[in-house]
């Protein structure tokens, strides 16, 4: 069942993941630099990408997930992923994203995240979108800031990543009252 639209931005096309993306996902998300900024394992095990893509599709059908592959418009190359974990009762969603290291520093994450926030508010009827990142990874916070999100706090040593307790920053944006850049 394919009930997500395709989202086009200036340079990107956001489309649903397909099982055929699994090999590329494993390669890109298996990069140590990407894995270190997410909750992903490293090395990235065989078969996990297929499971992950299948779980996204199930979540989309249940209505608690929205997830898009980030691809370059034109050439169609997959460069990352962006996702919402939706809580219908509270009309909010947690946003997460990753971009292949070879594509960092070009504003692709910001472009994809903006499109996802807009999709969450206008298509899914959300009231709030929030996101968390490791405090040691301020680049991710800058993406959130550029998307109009507001820094709301820091959860101290909230996440254990590879045996180390790490701080996480949380950012949020509301549908009303947020100046969307």
């Amino acid at each position: 069942m394919e009930n997500q639209p395709i989202l086009a931005t200036d340079r990107l096309l956001l489309r649903s993941f397909a099982l055929a993306d699994a090999f590329t996902v494993q390669q890109l998300a298996g990069d140590y630099a990407v894995a270190a900024t997410t909750l992903l394992p490293h090395p990235y095990p065989d078969g996990l990408a297929e499971l992950w893509i299948a779980s996204l599709r199930e979540g989309i059908e249940r209505g608690d997930t929205a997830a898009f592959a980030i691809t370059l418009a034109g050439e169609g190359r997959l460069i990352g992923g962006v996702r919402l974990r939706i809580d219908c009762g509270h009309r909010r969603a947690e946003l997460g994203f990753w971009v292949a290291r070879s594509c960092w520093g070009r504003g692709y994450a910001t472009e994809a995240v903006r499109a996802m926030i807009e999709y969450g508010f206008s298509a899914l009827g959300l009231h709030r979108v929030y996101a968390m990142h490791f405090s040691r990874n301020p680049a991710s916070g800058r993406v959130m800031e550029k998307c109009g999100m507001v820094h709301e706090g820091r959860f101290r040593e909230h996440i254990r990543k590879w045996g180390v307790f790490e701080d996480a920053d949380i950012w949020g944006i509301l549908r009303e009252g947020g100046a969307f850049p």
Partner: protein
């Protein structure tokens, strides 16, 4: 050693709920002032909800996802306190509590939550305990502060309670700072239930 132990503090005894507590839970938690300050408590409080809630306690404790206590004083149920969302991977848990309206203003919430935090750190081996309260409910924030918790975040419009979108605050305490700040025993006695 899989059972949920009884925790004794200066004035309170924390024990697992039993179905016999259900009517008192309905009466105390069903009061508007209590229900409106807790995310999950309905109002009016329907028959059967207290029984259903209590029935989840033991299976959840055995699965290791929560540890919920009846807070009693001289044998009377005065409220509830516990750890939920226990996450072994991240060694953290969320603290939650409510006190019956007749028992507000006596420091029972602080005394009970201190015992539960101590239980989380010393028995469950947690690294972090955090808690959330409606921003409009400053009294709950003061309980957290008195327990040595640090204000960490103000989440705008994060929850919807009875159709109204509300801000919440998040406080947290880490095992190391708890050991530094917690003077005096938070639990006088911990014994098998």
């Amino acid at each position: 050693m899989t059972g949920q132990p009884i925790l004794v503090t200066d004035r309170l005894l924390l024990r697992p709920f039993t179905l016999a507590d259900a009517s008192m839970v309905q009466r105390l938690a069903g009061e508007y002032a209590v229900a409106s300050s807790a995310l999950e408590i309905p109002y009016p409080y329907p028959d059967g909800v207290a029984e259903a809630w209590i029935a989840t306690h033991r299976p959840g404790f055995e699965r290791g996802v929560h540890a919920i206590y009846a807070v009693t004083c001289d044998g009377d149920l005065v409220g509830a306190a516990g750890l939920v969302e226990i996450d072994r991977d991240h060694r953290r848990a969320e603290l939650g509590y409510w006190m019956g309206r007749p028992y507000w203003g006596r420091g029972y919430a602080t005394e009970a939550t201190r015992a539960v935090i101590e239980y989380g750190f010393s028995v469950l081996g947690l690294h972090r305990v955090y808690a959330m309260h409606f921003s409009r409910n400053r009294a709950s924030g003061r309980v957290m502060e008195k327990c040595g918790m640090v204000h960490e975040a103000h989440l705008r419009g994060h929850v919807r309670k009875w159709g109204v979108v509300e801000d919440i605050d998040v406080c947290g305490v880490l095992h190391g700072e708890w050991r530094e700040r917690c003077t005096g025993p938070a639990i006088r006695e911990c014994r098998a239930g």
